[in-house]
């Protein structure tokens, strides 16, 4: 490579940088010269700029890996959600068993961001030969970036709740699990989920904040709303070990950054009670180029929000993807008392202590059967939130609980057989088949050999017990 060639190349790139700079300055030209910032403010801004950009610009290659693995024809809400909740994960936030990293260590990527930002701010200050005294224009653009980044996340989580995808109504098996047999996060999820209308309202709050972020003049209200709403969610994440602590905290950081913009003004107005000047820097996108870019950006944002909303709506109506989708045994949904239990030819009476004797059985609406039996349950420590195509992999119903054993089943209609398989990831080799017969609507007889070659003969009787969650509202009820 000759030297002349090199210099022309650098001239080209310099010209290019200049053009971008001019373009970025254009909407704020009317306010030049800008006010002078104090030196600490300049340094603080450089740090903030690098720190926030580290979280906003996808620098983690896994983002692109996911992006290019999406089947756009069969787009699922979950795919868009994964992109919308992107944050750099140089230190993985998922453990080997699929459970989320909890506690302060879930903030390790923040530490990296902090170090990058410190180094970045120092290098920037060294390279900066012109000794700039302000970054007004860059600050304005950073605000725009943060606003849109935050809005996308809020729309994603808003739709996630609005259509009950994040917290699906608890399956009957979960409802019939003892309170102490859940992890705290599952109790939190389940309690919120028993009131779908309330869950939708929480989603609407997030969507409302997202809408307010799209308009420059209402940003401060959105930021206030997000600080209140999401700091609560971040605190819940911490105390209930939900596993999204650092992401929800990140959204709060974005909101605080946006709120700080108007804080001195509000302080002046309300606390000092003195004459207060309004914001004077109002971007003017008057040139043809900016008018066009603004339209394109708005169009893209609307497309993205529309995609989030439509896929969430579609998934919410069609299939709540955390729960299995194939229909179970027809008319079998419900709780069953195990009236008779014959094990290798011996009738075992009711027992809460016997490790083979089934205590009760639940048939879900979908092809899941859960059994309560006094045998230790392997606890699925994931959040069961991923999208899985196959029903056996859809593990939300067993995640975070240790009260019941969950089995997936296929129905062999011609032979009247249920082909069962344990849903726990470590126990998938537990496969067996039972023949079923249904002498009447209330009774199911199961017969066969289990995975340990023990013969089984079970009489299930539908239980008609009332439950306080449904019946006890305001009627004098005996339960």
């Amino acid at each position: 490579m000759s030297e002349t060639n090199f210099s022309t190349k650098s001239q080209v790139s310099q010209r290019y940088v200049l053009r971008v700079k001019t373009a970025l300055n254009a909407p704020f030209r009317a306010y030049f010269p800008y006010e002078v910032w104090s030196l600490p403010k300049v340094y603080a801004f450089r740090f903030t700029w690098v720190f926030l950009l580290y979280f906003i610009v996808p620098v983690d290659w896994k983002f692109y890996q996911y992006l290019f693995s999406i089947h756009w024809v069969h787009l699922h809400f979950y795919d868009v959600l994964v992109l919308a909740k992107y944050q750099p994960e140089f230190v993985s936030l998922t453990r080997a068993d699929g459970s989320p990293v909890l506690g302060w260590s879930s903030y390790s990527n923040w530490l990296i961001g902090f170090l990058v930002a410190v180094i970045g701010a120092i290098l920037w200050s060294i390279i900066d030969k012109k000794k700039r005294t302000e970054h007004v224009v860059l600050y304005q653009w950073l605000r725009v970036l943060v606003r849109y980044r935050l809005a996308v996340a809020l729309f994603a989580f808003g739709f996630y709740k609005l259509f009950h995808l994040q917290l699906p109504y608890p399956p009957l098996s979960n409802l019939l699990t003892n309170y102490g047999d859940f992890y705290a996060w599952k109790i939190y999820f389940q309690t919120t989920a028993i009131s779908p209308a309330y869950e939708s309202f929480l989603g609407v709050v997030e969507i409302l904040a997202g809408v307010l972020l799209l308009y420059r003049k209402t940003v401060v209200f959105a930021a206030g709303l997000v600080i209140g709403f999401l700091s609560n969610i971040a605190v819940v994440n911490g105390f209930y070990e939900v596993g999204e602590a650092s992401f929800s905290a990140l959204l709060v950081v974005f909101a605080i950054f946006l709120f700080i913009h108007d804080l001195p003004r509000l302080y002046q107005l309300l606390i000092r009670e003195k004459y207060t000047l309004s914001n004077k820097i109002i971007p003017v996108y008057s040139t043809g180029k900016w008018k066009f870019i603004k339209k394109v950006v708005l169009f893209l944002v609307l497309i993205l929000i529309g995609t989030l909303g439509l896929t969430a709506f579609h998934d919410g109506v069609q299939e709540s993807y955390k729960l299995p989708k194939n229909p179970g045994l027809s008319d079998a949904f419900g709780q069953y008392d195990v009236k008779e239990f014959i094990w290798n030819g011996d009738t075992i009476p009711y027992s809460k202590t016997d490790s083979n004797r089934w205590q009760d059985v639940v048939f879900e609406k979908w092809s899941t059967l859960s059994i309560k039996v006094n045998r230790p349950v392997w606890i699925d420590r994931t959040s069961g939130e991923k999208y899985h195509e196959k029903d056996i992999d859809r593990n939300y119903e067993l995640a975070g609980q240790a009260g019941r054993h969950y089995f997936y089943y296929d129905i062999d209609d011609s032979n009247h057989r249920l082909l069962l398989q344990n849903k726990s990831r470590g126990k998938r080799n537990e496969k067996f088949s039972l023949s079923f017969s249904r002498p009447d609507k209330q009774t199911i007889l199961l017969k066969g050999v289990n995975e340990k070659q023990d013969s089984l003969q079970v009489v299930l009787k539908r239980s008609h017990k009332g439950h306080l969650m449904y019946e006890g509202r305001r009627t004098p009820v005996q339960l």
């Binding site: 914001n279 009476p349 305001r474």
Partner: protein, 506 residues
């Protein structure tokens, strides 16, 4: 970041002139014109009426206080009074259900009449009079709301309203609890989060105490309380309307500064400095103001907090019994054998007498599951879920069972009073008994905790042949002789161990 406010010279100049850019003098002018005046006066009357306790029991309680025996309940019933109740229509959600909003509407109608009368009668009043009214009503509303918020918050800051599940609850299926019980418990499982929520109510309360931060406090209180309104409707928790009332008050306080904030941030116009402050002509007026203000603040913030703290740390938690149980008995038990009048009953979940399992709490409580339905005790955390359409049925509604405080004051055992959190909102087939222990003869005198079956007594002798084994024998509540062999299960609960625990099997 624009730092215009530091440019003092400009600020000063414009401030002194008190003019808008368009040249009109911008004073915080009171509303002109009949309609605006009328609207203002209607609102004034409405919020004054909202802030005056208007039912007999409030005053009865207030004037019958035993000052030597004050508890946090006395403070709570002062700061958490209800909005005026004109008519009572019970709905699916009980007293404070959806129909109760009619009281807020009726009161508004009354305010319209009074407000119009006022406007007509005082047509020639000076605009400054209205401004003074607005100021003083705002003072009234924000102190009323502030103390209410602090009171509500203290219940959680000293976690009593929402408590950690009992051993019995840990072994009860999710579906067998009333929604309110589920909602309160899901907060109660995290001690830290409960305290956090407490401060989410206390903080707005404290901000409301200062004129300058009152708008922020009002807005925060409105947001927090609005969420409480919806959660109460969603989970049938029974205090939706009082929370809606607090939301209204919060909105009212925030609205004082809202026009200025709107002008500054949304219209992006400068806001001149102007704020009405009352002027006192005499020194005694100023002194009186300071004294009254600080008496209220001290009484309803630090002193009230002190009473909550005292109750919390000295065995007056209104949800948790304070009589200690037999220490060696605490735990969850399987029932190995069960003899009724000498005849052995096999384990059977459909049996109405045989126990399926038994629980001894840390406090004096024995509970066991049978298949014998009973009326549900509806007391969940100091307020019973009243039965619909049957308001005279005192027995079912349990209106007069908020008595733990009375029992406490009379030095009687309070554990049979309101402190039956473990019982309320749970199916009656799980039977809960309070017991008194005779440790010398190893005898438990038991009484059913469910208020609807309080006459049920048992006398059981207990024996601990070896650690983890318990034999109970004696007469049960139906005067049948029973003999029960129990063995303790050293259960591990995922909820207690936590998600970070590496335990793989439970």
């Amino acid at each position: 970041m624009a730092n215009f406010e530091n440019d003092t010279t400009v600020v000063q100049q414009v401030a002194e002139n008190r003019y808008d850019e368009d040249g009109t003098p911008h004073v915080h002018t009171p509303q002109k014109g009949f309609y605006k005046k009328a609207l203002f006066r209607i609102a004034t009357i409405y919020f004054v009426l909202l802030c005056i306790p208007s039912y007999y029991n409030f005053y009865k309680h207030l004037f019958c206080l035993h000052f030597s025996k004050l508890t946090y309940h006395d403070f709570q019933s002062v700061v958490a009074f209800w909005p005026p109740q004109i008519i009572l229509i019970e709905s699916e959600e009980g007293v404070f259900g959806i129909y109760n909003y009619v009281n807020l509407v009726l009161l508004f109608l009354v305010s319209i009449v009074l407000g119009l009368a006022w406007t007509v009668l005082a047509r020639k009043s000076k605009p400054q009079t209205d401004e003074r009214w607005r100021y003083w009503v705002n003072v009234l509303v924000r102190y009323r709301l502030a103390f209410g918020m602090v009171g509500w918050g203290l219940k959680k800051a000293f976690p009593m309203q929402m408590v950690y599940p009992t051993i019995g609850m840990l072994n009860t299926p999710f579906i067998d609890m009333a929604e309110k019980k589920l909602y309160w418990s899901h907060v109660g499982i995290s001690f830290g989060y409960t305290i956090f929520l407490g401060f989410a109510e206390i903080l707005p309360g404290l901000l409301l105490l200062n004129r300058k931060t009152a708008s922020l406090g009002g807005a925060l209180a409105a947001v927090v309380c609005f969420n409480i309104v919806l959660a109460n409707h969603a989970f049938d928790a029974g205090v939706a309307v009082p929370a809606a009332y607090f939301t209204l008050l919060g909105v009212f306080v925030a609205s004082y500064d809202f026009p200025k904030i709107w002008r500054l941030l949304v219209q992006e116009k400068d806001v001149p400095t102007y704020r009405y402050k009352p002027t006192f002509s005499f020194a005694w007026q100023r002194r009186l103001k300071v004294v009254v203000k600080w008496i209220f603040i001290i009484l309803f913030v630090p002193v009230m907090a002190g009473f909550w703290a005292y109750g919390f740390f000295n065995g007056n938690n209104y949800n948790i019994p304070s009589t200690p149980g037999v220490k060696k008995l605490t735990g969850y038990y399987n029932v190995d054998r069960f003899l009724l009048n000498g005849k052995e009953l096999p384990a059977n979940p459909l049996d109405s007498v045989r126990w399926q399992y038994a629980v001894f709490e840390k406090w004096s409580s024995l509970s066991y599951q049978t298949n014998r339905p009973a009326y549900v005790d509806r007391m969940i955390g100091y307020s019973p879920l009243r039965v619909k359409g049957n308001k005279n049925n005192k027995k079912l509604n349990q209106v007069d069972t908020q008595d733990s405080d009375e029992l406490f004051k009379e030095n009687r055992n309070r554990d049979l009073g309101v402190t039956r959190w473990e019982v309320g909102g749970m199916p009656g087939s799980r039977r809960y008994f309070f017991y008194e222990t005779d440790t010398v003869n190893q005898i438990l005198q038991l009484q059913n905790k469910n208020k609807l079956y309080k006459w049920e007594h048992q006398v059981l002798h207990y024996e601990i042949p070896r650690d983890g084994k318990v034999i109970l024998s004696g007469l049960n509540e139906f005067q049948d002789s029973i003999y029960v062999e129990l063995s303790r299960v050293d259960k591990k609960y995922p909820l207690v161990e936590g998600r970070s625990s590496l335990q793989a099997y439970y």
